[in-house]
Symmetry: C2
């Protein structure tokens, strides 16, 4: 468990933040061309023009850099999903929009550049901290929509909220998780609508 905002060495003031951002930007660019798996910290050092030791002052491993890139990407998806929910005040419509936004944002952010998919795939396979936080946040957003729908009378209240949340999360998972999504391209057009309809039928009071 790492905390990306904790400096490895003693604080250096604002310059540290800038150097980290510069490393992340250069790494994102390099990974997108040459792939995350094949790139080493030495490769990054050479490209950026820093020594390997200097990079290690800011990131303890290649994975730390990958975690920051991945975290940025996952936070972007989360923000889009949150914004999509915010576009309606009707819980059933919020759920539809959530499903659609999850699928579209994941498709775009994980696959717009095949090489960046590799980072997301490593993160999902190895269950990086950023992924665990992200999944918890998506589940929290889902739970909030369900809770709102229970209060408004749109959704049934008999089933325990935790059970409903988890079951619907499992229905969404193939369109959220990059490892499953790569094998679900044939369904990304229709599945969000078909599955939202099924889920909404399951929620009817």
């Amino acid at each position: 468990m790492k905390n990306d905002s904790t400096p490895i060495t003693k604080s250096r003031g604002p310059a540290e933040h800038e150097v980290r951002a510069q490393i992340v930007a250069a790494a994102t660019e390099h990974f997108s061309h040459f792939g995350y798996e094949k790139t080493t910290v030495s490769d990054l050092a050479r490209v950026i023009g820093y020594s390997k030791a200097y990079i290690y002052k800011f990131f303890e491993s290649k994975q730390s850099i990958g975690e920051m890139i991945c975290g940025n990407c996952l936070r972007e998806i989360e923000a889009e999903v949150s914004a999509a929910i915010g576009q309606s005040d009707q819980p059933p419509e919020q759920l539809r929009r959530m499903f659609k936004a999850c699928t579209e944002a994941s498709l775009r952010l994980f696959f717009r550049d095949r090489k960046l998919y590799e980072i997301a795939a490593s993160a999902a396979t190895e269950r990086w901290q950023t992924v665990i936080v992200y999944e918890a946040n998506i589940q929290r957003l889902l739970r909030e929509v369900l809770q709102a729908g229970r209060l408004s009378g749109d959704f049934e209240r008999k089933t325990p909220l935790d059970e409903t949340t988890m079951a619907i999360y499992l229905v969404m998972r193939p369109y959220l998780n990059p490892l499953l999504l790569q094998y679900s391209f044939d369904y990304t057009e229709d599945a969000p609508v078909q599955l939202s309809n099924l889920v909404l039928r399951s929620l009817s009071p």
Copy 2:
């Protein structure tokens, strides 16, 4: 599109059937130790003690042998799912059993031997004919359970049957398709029950 029961050359009587079975048995054994991707028809010929040309009289490619092995495996899953459905005459219970049997049979048959998983993965990725037939058969079994439930009054009848069938199939897909199932191991214990519950709520009249 191939038909495995059609001889490539002119009919040779019962001996042909035996030779094909012998090749398939030896190939299954060999693939399970050395992997499907890495094995060539020359490797198989050497192991079985036939010439490569002789094997090509019975199978036009390695994939033809793989298709027969995969087809046997998929038919076994199908038979188990069908038997599970047959153990109850109540459509809701049939649906639960179907979900459970799909997951358990797929887990056992695709993953009991990691090397045989490779064939199933190739088949699913390249959408071999056996896979297309298998998916259609599972969807047919599902549709029959849904139809029976509509007749018995257990399931709602407003949603078009095709739409309901496809949506529930999509819910089951991560536990049926070997490519998705490999990333769903954490959920195979609880998901069949949680998702059956959700699906049954969605079907309530």
